[in-house]
């Protein structure tokens, strides 16, 4: 009975494009918050571009179940992410850690901000000098 229901649900899930709603029970609000955060940071390996927490693909449901189980078993967020990366690759991390491959990504905005800031300051200084010359 449960198996046939499972098969039915599998069929429903595999074509569904809507919200994922499950009824997991947690020991504490912290656990639930971690579950939500991981659902938001882990990418569904088979979808177009969705986090496992947003996706109704069957694999996302499976991975949410894994995350739930691991949280209940006391695994840390790092361990859970490591578990996922070992199986599905770095692709599953929506929040890639800073390393050689992502250094341009993470430091790029800071670098542009500094470079642009310097250019802006130089530009203003040029105009203030003109102003000073005029006034003096």
């Amino acid at each position: 009975m449960i198996k046939t229901l499972l098969v039915k649900m599998v069929i429903i899930f595999s074509i569904a494009a809507s919200a994922s709603i499950e009824t997991y029970q947690f020991d504490s609000p912290q656990q639930e918050a971690r579950f939500r955060q991981l659902g938001f940071e882990l990418r569904c390996p088979k979808c177009q571009n969705q986090a496992i927490g947003d996706s109704d693909a069957e694999i996302s449901g499976d991975l949410r179940a894994v995350v739930y189980r691991m949280i209940k078993e006391g695994a840390t967020d790092g361990e859970i992410k490591e578990f996922m990366v070992a199986r599905y690759g770095r692709f599953v991390l929506y929040n890639p850690p800073l390393d050689q491959q992502t250094i341009v990504l993470w430091l790029g905005p800071v670098a542009i901000l500094i470079l642009g800031g310097v250019l802006v300051l130089l530009r203003i200084r040029r105009s203030t000098r003109a102003l000073d010359q005029r006034d003096s």
């Binding site: 198996k3 046939t4 499972l6 098969v7 599998v10 069929i11 595999s14 390996p45 088979k46 177009q48 693909a57 069957e58 694999i59 499976d62 894994v66 990366v85 070992a86 199986r87 599905y88 690759g89 692709f91």
Partner: protein, 172 residues
């Protein structure tokens, strides 16, 4: 603006165009498996037909295909005849993924059984360890049990000729 700075936007755009051009030849959806070059993960599951315990050690000692399938998977039916054809050339180990025993057996009885052995994985535990995202997926495993290639989706002659055969020949 200074004389060189006005060319910077064009330079940046040109670099981007290079990337875009390369990007058109890439498939953003294609995903290499994280397990390439790694051994098949350890498992302890039963044979669908005999109920005997299967482990990493019971896998064939020569290059083989590990085909992840299920009776609820439509593409698996599509690739089934080609797998039957392929089974003359190299052993195919089945991994029956998140399926029910009766449904799987009926399916094989109806469509034929090209599999050398059939690993029964109703909970999808080995599938998870293999990084399976959905059925069908097919792995090429070498004689020492190391994963060499992963195909997501249908295996057909084109996939075999382009991806599996060249690699298989280097393994022999």
């Amino acid at each position: 603006m200074s004389r060189w700075a006005v060319w910077a936007p064009l330079a940046i755009f040109s670099i981007l165009v290079g990337f875009f051009f390369k990007g058109l030849t890439l498939d953003p959806g294609a995903q290499p498996s994280a397990l390439i070059g790694k051994p098949v993960p350890p498992f302890q599951l039963t044979d669908l037909h005999t109920g005997k315990v299967l482990t990493r050690q019971t896998l064939p000692a020569r290059p083989f295909l590990l085909n992840v399938w299920a009776s609820w998977c439509i593409t698996c039916q599509v690739e089934h005849p080609y797998l039957t054809e392929l089974s003359d050339r190299l052993p195919i180990v089945g991994l029956n993924y998140k399926d029910s025993e009766t449904a799987a057996k009926n399916w094989l009885a109806k469509l034929g059984d090209p599999y050398a052995t059939q690993i029964f994985d109703p909970s999808g535990r080995l599938g998870l360890d293999l990084g399976v995202a959905g059925a069908p997926e097919t792995f090429l495993v070498d004689s020492s049990g190391v994963i060499q290639l992963r195909i997501q989706g249908e295996v057909n002659d084109r996939v075999y000729q382009r991806q599996i055969r060249p690699l298989l020949e280097t393994l022999k």
